[in-house]
């Protein structure tokens, strides 16, 4: 199916996509580390309790949605993405970064779903399906490039729309743009704290416009040396760790902010 044909589909913003009934082969869930939502007390069976019709039934505790983060390692398979220095391919750098960030988040008790865990071919529609199915609190689309300096943060260029109601699949992100900008500010702040230069922008990049979650594209660029900073390549492990730690700190802070 061509990507543009997906525009005919409609999603309920903040809910599920129409095609999410098919589970993603490439999607991986860290269910064992994901915080489980509070489970209401099991109802007692009539055989174990005395019926008390005059007393109202206990109200089950309200189930809070889990704080789940979706990490999308861009490109993969035949789509190698940008060609970086030292014969590196973007698809490999994004996968490595995503794996490292997933581990760091899991160590902090944050549930993570990744769109791919291997060098798999995934179309943007599959990635959006995975993210929308998760009802995630944050979706990060990880990219890498050979130009610019520091980290580039991009949110959807769609105009904000009121959340709720039916949203066209092609512009599902519109209802989350305001939250995405808040998430972007959280990440910007954490990277600034780590003294990593940041460029902010709005862009039209698949699959962000189709994500029904606060979504930011994070593009890692080389660090251009300056008066107080030393130049670093995107493959520099120490540089990657600084960025990953800053992203994890931002998502940790987002855990208490995302419902506001």
């Amino acid at each position: 199916m061509r990507w543009t044909e997906a525009a005919l589909a409609v999603v309920l913003a903040g809910a599920t996509s129409p095609m999410q009934a098919n589970p993603q082969a490439g999607a991986q869930t860290s269910a064992q580390t994901a915080p489980q939502p509070p489970v209401p007390s099991p109802a007692q069976s009539p055989a174990q309790s005395t019926p008390m019709p005059s007393v109202p039934a206990p109200v089950p505790p309200r189930i809070q949605p889990a704080f789940m983060v979706v990490l999308d390692a861009a490109h993969g398979g035949s789509d190698s993405g940008a060609h970086l220095k030292n014969d590196l391919q973007e698809k490999d750098v994004t996968l490595g970064l995503t794996t490292r960030l997933r581990s760091t988040l899991q160590a902090r008790g944050i549930g993570v779903i990744t769109t791919r865990e291997s060098d798999a071919n995934l179309v943007p529609l599959n990635r959006a399906e995975t993210a929308n199915h998760a009802k995630a609190a944050a979706c990060l689309v990880i990219h890498a490039t050979a130009t610019g300096s520091g980290v580039h943060l991009y949110t959807s260029s769609l105009a904000p729309a009121n959340p709720g109601g039916l949203q066209p699949w092609q512009t599902a992100q519109a209802a989350f743009v305001t939250q995405s900008l808040k998430l972007e500010a959280e990440i910007d702040s954490a990277l600034a704290h780590a003294q990593v230069p940041v460029t902010l922008g709005r862009a039209s990049v698949q699959p962000i416009d189709n994500l029904a979650c606060p979504a930011v594209a994070v593009e890692l660029a080389p660090l251009v040396g300056g008066h107080i900073t030393e130049g670093r390549e995107v493959s520099d492990a120490a540089y990657q760790k600084e960025v990953v730690d800053a992203l994890a700190a931002a998502l940790n802070a987002w855990r208490s902010d995302w419902k506001q």
Partner: protein, 212 residues
């Protein structure tokens, strides 16, 4: 056996063929003379734009390091035709990408096949003119030379949109093709399937550099 009547008929047909060939050659020569005369009387082409008086234009050149668009004033001879004007403007922009010390380096010095203009239909209740949509047909060589990444690709598109809108204010929307065909992305990232609003390229006020 060939009769005399057949011989006469054959000779008449041969004569008719010779006359027709002579007429066709004469017509072809006349048409060739007419085309050459029209070409000689035609206005100078875009490549000979230097004969047109130069005009001050603003090009928006990206800076990859901070993601900004820098306004650069140039004096360029623009042809009268708006399509050709747009093409000359964008070719000048790409030449600026290619120049030494460029803040948005690109390995090609040209890359615009054509720029077409379409009227944007008015939305219901809209009183003002909705402007024009510029359909920019990029060269495949430009797309191949475009550095891959969200930032570099987005900046290229924004620079094209900002330059068109600044110099041809009627341009309100921009759509991109590559070698005359729709394409998903410019170089793996920036979406080319959608039509962009020229207002999306909103360069921040910054110092204007002037060069010839």
């Amino acid at each position: 056996m060939i009769t005399r009547a057949h011989k006469i008929l054959f000779l008449l047909m041969l004569l008719a063929c010779i006359i027709m060939a002579a007429v066709l050659i004469r017509l072809r020569n006349r048409a060739q003379d007419r085309l050459q005369a029209e070409a000689a009387a035609a206005p100078p082409s875009i490549a000979e734009g230097s004969s047109v008086s130069p005009r001050a234009v603003t090009l928006y050149v990206p800076n990859d390091l901070d993601g900004s668009l820098l306004a650069v004033e140039r004096s360029i001879a623009l042809p009268a035709d708006s399509n050709a004007q747009a093409r000359v403007l964008l070719e000048s922009l790409i030449a600026a990408f290619h120049a030494d010390g460029s803040t948005h380096p690109m390995s090609v010095a040209s890359g615009i096949n054509e720029v077409y203009f379409l009227p944007v239909p008015k939305s219901p209740g809209q009183a003002a003119d909705a402007g024009q949509m510029a359909v920019v047909d990029l060269n495949g060589a430009l797309a191949a030379a475009q550095p891959s990444g969200i930032e570099p690709e987005t900046l290229t598109l924004l620079a094209v949109m900002a330059t068109l809108h600044a110099n041809l204010p009627t341009v309100s929307q921009v759509h991109f093709l590559v070698d005359g065909q729709p394409r998903d992305t410019l170089a793996g990232h920036a979406d080319l399937t959608r039509t962009y609003l020229a207002s999306e390229a909103n360069p921040e006020p910054n110092p204007v550099e002037t060069s010839q």
